[in-house]
Symmetry: C2
Subunit: 719 residues, 2 copies
């Protein structure tokens, strides 16, 4: 080369290398779909298997192809050309129906259902290729993301033979997003839905949202708050929703709407919303037909009825089944479904709140139409740091029961605390209901295998907002990710999921992955300890649910008050849900109930959920209940210190922007953990009258100081 | 090279080239600071002059250095190493006080003041270098951004000799951001200030906000709404503001706060906020001292008092000067200033609203303390598509008068319409008040040269939100940019500014730049025509100010109703502000008033602002007023069609994401322009009873249909 050419080459190289710096601005927008350049040695290994992509051009196949192209161009720095003929290193993707090469391979696809996929290294006409095959385009799309994950997590792609299919059919996010752009229990900024500028403006964010969801197998989204406005069902809003559906459809995401039960009155001018009234039924049929005209693959309705002030069939002395079936009837001709929430408790019912959903729904078993799912929160109260599984799971064998988890951390640290929720999800899914004998886990209930239901579902209340990093903090992305993975496979391990997520989101370096995964895995237990140890629950402050409020007793409805749940007095603490108390235990199968019935033998992490015990009760480790309670609060706080130390040591492995953001959130978490400990101990000490165990520091402030705190602009309260 | 090495080189090249694709995801976050790789030929020209940077390490110098490094690494793809010794192609930046090489050059810096800079290609010790010199670190920072702009706009850097200094001292953004994260009159999502997580969480966005502002010379920001809450002055919020100040300080941005006048009552427990009460004065002094303890370079207070329901000195029968001077007294020891808004009009004053601010403030001339600026909106009403300049400009020679422009497009298309506001700003700045004879332009009033004031200011109500593109649309970034440039130099040309902005934000290709700049330059006139032609004003719908409402007449206060301003009836249309009417004209210098006094000779774009005329009045082009009015509405609509065609043709020059977003917004703009035309013509035709001129299409709907429209979740209304 002449010197001039050499200089030119160096300049070109420099120019392009310069981009490495720019691309490294890590603001979290890419989530776990970070297709960053691989080290050269690694790239050399993958490159021969990523030379071209052969794919059909239907929308979801195009989406799969362009995602593979995006990934490869990121990993390897060269284009992945779309080809029509097969050569060495090609990715051949599609279904037997439309891709002759795949048909010819005669792959074992029959067991994969509508959404599964198979990825295999094969030889076609003498060419070594990788095939991603499925029975449907959506399956192909999921396979494409799976192959990309394989590379992102540093695994081989030369000898692939993988097949997978989701165990749950409806895998949904629930957005509690209001039409004014606020998000109820949202801690990541405003809603990502720009209802105002829809249907015209189709934000790139909608596509990236769909990509992220498709990558973890989520196939639907409820876009408006369960505390719904009828406005969402008007023609202009149907048009807006249809435009959104157009953006999500290529990634296999169906749209669902929360429906306000009184809409026939508010929009239709009817005098009633009685589900047995023919005019009301006709109104819902016509409205549903109108929606399907605009959105042919519309998923269906989610309904919060007769719950916390929402209208419902009870207003007309009809049952939840009457209400759900009316909507089911309107949706059935189109293949749509109803998700009817079981989150109900009444101000006119004096019984233990934990029992009320069961009491109201259990008698309705067998009455719900085939396209109705009853959507049940994981625990009997409300998304607490720890709850036993809801006794409704497994208790309605003729009913399709669906899970509702909360991904947004309303009660579990909001957007600041680093709390990985998958262990909480996993704990519920693996809990045994015993309704068909041992092994009747909640996972088996909701995946339909226990009672042979085909229609199954899992919903997660989204933690997504318009913040640049989507979820308000970098680590909250993991909760979205883990929810999707568990909805796909409720038997998956939360540790494995965390490991994948860390590798995809941050770094594959084991020196980073191991401590971070450990920190994540410990985080939920730490949070439960510093907020509500030993099975305490519902101890948060009022309204915003931010921070501790164990002393709160003056709210209008008894079951809104933390004192209702802790029942702390001079004699002891805890909610007696045994026979001597509310007997909520009796709602469980006797074998399940037995696990929690004897405080001396049970898992003490549920202790005060089920038992009221004296302060001097001896815990299994020999400490008194009072001492053990204080020790657990302290242990939770101590864990936040460990997390800070761990993270500080990981600076070399993380970009500056995300390192700083996580560090700053950990600072907040540690301070707030101390606050939870101090305020809670202050209050309970005012009841127990006991000294702290030796060596444990007294709360920083007197009880009154904690009680006096107010937070006028705490986030997540909607408007 | 062996084949193996060749393959490796190609792989490395490919890897890095691949990033070109990724870096091209244009979501607008980088604003005009897009340091994209230059074409090789161009890069070769710049590279020899960008080999290293020699800079001190004080915070603003570090910021300048790191911005240069970021830019060069983007443009050229190689690092710009920081050096201590000077070599060929070095950038030597600093002040004579701390950089010996600059001191030795003995550059002519004396005329540049505190914030100006000088950039010159010089030889130091036989090395060809580029010097950025100033009297202060902030000047150096501005010079660094100026050099980067030189490259971004494709100009040479080999023979530089530039010097510039701001003509206005206080160059501010006003954020109408509420503490709950909503933004009054914001159309770009939630507030970028995460008050909840401050002071701990220091969002990267704060730094990028500061960079963007510094790049256009903005040196301060008022972070909370003028409709202020006292909470902003409490200790926790002062700590939050201090943390924000820490993020902005390295970029020369000072923080100011909107102060609620009644704070001594709400926070201090006093019985009064009377500005002459010693206890009130003491409270403000103590509060101000408290702020300065946390924020030593705190800028001062902005106050909206006795305006639209806000408390103020009038509540105690004291004057605006009494109120302002009380705060000025507290701030003076720290070098802080008061910006006291002149946006007042009273429900108890029956006179023309356009006259009221003048009537209330003019008598106070000479009474304001030296560190008070009276902040005056550009026109006498409220940020309309077109207003004559406020008669207060130049009318208070002993008072420091400051400009308030509205960058957020409350009345000018909100975030969807492509409307470049700089021509509106320029029109006001170049308007001649004649108070000291011809040439006494508004620019000369606010830059202090007319009355020899040293303390001068210009504020712009920010259009910034948490949207990824900051301003809700790509083209609204131009309004932020242009405001900054005009605050630096109120004599700058809006066309030149647009040209720079287009080159920096999109492309330097003349085939793109020329039509886009033309489109921007025409856009404000088009908007004025389809919304409020011929000097009509305040014709928008109620509350949200979205869309037309010329028929609105039922609001409680007369001057809130559009009919108050259009005065359309069977006889004619327009507001008579001559002697036969409200005589608002008399508030102007007679020479200025004369320009608008004769409808037959005046610029007809102000016609109906000053005159009520019969429908058959003959315009200067011979058409009747009615026909001419309809024609102008139509012409505005037609321009939106031209904009669509222009933009469509420019697809090859723009990335897909921004091309689509702009196209979609233009679709909305065109539909809404037609709506403005049709609704307005409908209403005015109901008064004139006249047919449309031949060839002009009748409104699409009957008047009642336009009147019946409601927009429940229109943005920008705060909460």
């Amino acid at each position: 080369m002449t010197q001039r050419i050499a200089r030119l080459v160096l300049l070109v190289l420099g120019l392009t290398l310069g981009l490495v710096t720019m691309a490294h601005a890590e603001d979290g927008y890419d989530l776990w779909l970070r297709y960053r350049p691989l080290p050269v040695a690694q790239a050399q290994i993958y490159a021969p298997h990523l030379t071209s992509v052969v794919a059909g051009d239907r929308p979801m196949l195009s989406a799969a192809r362009s995602e593979l192209q995006r990934g490869v161009s990121g990993f390897l720095g060269h284009d992945l050309p779309a080809a029509t003929s097969i050569g060495d290193g090609a990715l051949v993707i599609g279904t037997p129906a439309e891709q002759p090469a795949i048909k010819a391979l005669n792959l074992p696809l029959s067991g994969l259902g509508e959404e599964g996929y198979l990825i295999r290294s094969v030889t076609v006409d003498g060419h070594k290729v990788t095939v991603i095959a499925a029975n449907s385009d959506r399956g192909v799309l999921y396979g494409a993301f799976r192959l990309l994950r394989q590379i992102q997590t540093g695994q081989g792609i030369d000898k692939l033979d993988m097949a997978d299919a989701p165990k749950i059919r409806v895998r949904l996010l629930n957005h509690w997003d209001n039409l004014d752009g606020s998000v109820e229990r949202g801690y990541a900024g405003a809603s990502i839905w720009d209802w105002w500028r829809l249907p015209d403006l189709k934000d790139q964010r909608y596509t990236d949202y769909a990509r992220a969801n498709a990558s973890i197998g989520i196939n639907g989204t409820v876009v408006n708050n369960v505390n719904a406005k009828a406005l969402s069902l008007t023609a202009p809003y149907i048009a807006k929703t249809a435009a959104l559906a157009d953006s999500l459809r290529p990634y296999g995401i169906k749209i669902y709407l929360s429906a306000r039960f009184s809409s026939p009155i508010e929009l239709g001018g009817l005098k009633t919303a009685d589900p047995l009234d023919p005019a009301v039924r006709a109104w819902w049929r016509a409205k549903t037909d109108e929606i399907y005209k605009a959105i042919p693959d519309f998923g269906g309705f989610l309904v919060k009825a007769n719950s916390e002030g929402q209208p419902g069939p009870g207003d007309y002395h009809r049952s939840h089944a009457d209400g759900a079936n009316m909507l089911a009837e309107a949706l059935a001709p189109h293949g749509g479904i109803v998700m009817w929430r079981a989150f109900v408790y009444s101000e006119h019912d004096a019984s233990d709140r934990a029992k009320q959903a069961y009491n109201e729904f259990h008698p309705l078993d067998g009455q719900f139409a085939d396209n109705v799912l009853v959507q049940i929160k994981n625990g009997p109260i409300d998304f607490q740091p720890r709850e036993p599984f809801s006794p409704l799971f497994g208790a309605m064998p003729k009913t399709r029961e669906m899970m509702e988890f909360q991904i947004t951390k309303e009660y579990t640290g909001q957007a600041t605390h680093l709390v990985y929720l998958a262990p909480l999800f996993e704990e519920t899914l693996k809990a045994d209901t015993f309704v068909r004998g041992a092994g009747s886990t909640v996972a088996r209930v909701i995946d339909g295998s226990l009672e042979k239901h085909a229609l199954t579902g899992m919903a997660g209340v989204a933690n997504i907002g318009a913040n640049r990093n989507w979820t308000g903090s970098d680590f909250d992305q993991a909760n979205w990710y883990a929810f999707g993975r568990l909805a796909w496979n409720p038997d998956a391990s939360s540790r494995d999921i965390a490991t994948d997520w860390v590798r995809m989101t941050f770094s594959g370096d084991p020196a980073f992955v191991t401590p971070v995964v450990d920190m994540m895995m410990n985080s939920r237990e730490a949070m439960a300890d510093y907020m509500t140890p030993l099975g305490l629950h519902h101890q948060m402050a009022t309204g915003h649910h931010y921070g501790p409020g164990p002393w709160v007793h003056e709210l209008a409805r008894p079951e809104w008050n933390p004192v209702y749940y802790n029942k702390a007095d001079a004699g002891g603490i805890g909610f007696d849900r045994t026979k001597t108390g509310s007997d909520a235990l009796a709602q469980y199968n006797p074998r399940a109930a037995k696990i929690w019935s004897d405080p001396r033998k049970m898992d003490e992490r549920y202790l005060l959920w089920f038992h009221h015990l004296p302060w001097d009760y001896r815990l299994q480790d020999g400490h008194t209940l009072w001492d053990g309670l204080v020790m657990r609060y302290q242990s939770g706080v101590d864990q936040t210190g460990v997390m800070q130390i761990t993270w500080t040591g990981l600076a070399p492995y993380v970009d500056a922007q995300r390192f700083a953001a996580v560090s700053q959130n950990l600072t907040i978490q540690r301070r707030e953990a101390k606050w939870w400990r101090d305020a809670s101990i202050s209050y309970f000490q005012s009841k127990s009258g006991l000294p702290l165990p030796a060596g444990y520091t007294a709360p920083a402030l007197p009880l009154e100081a904690y009680e006096a705190l107010t937070f006028p602009y705490a986030p997540g309260q909607g408007h």
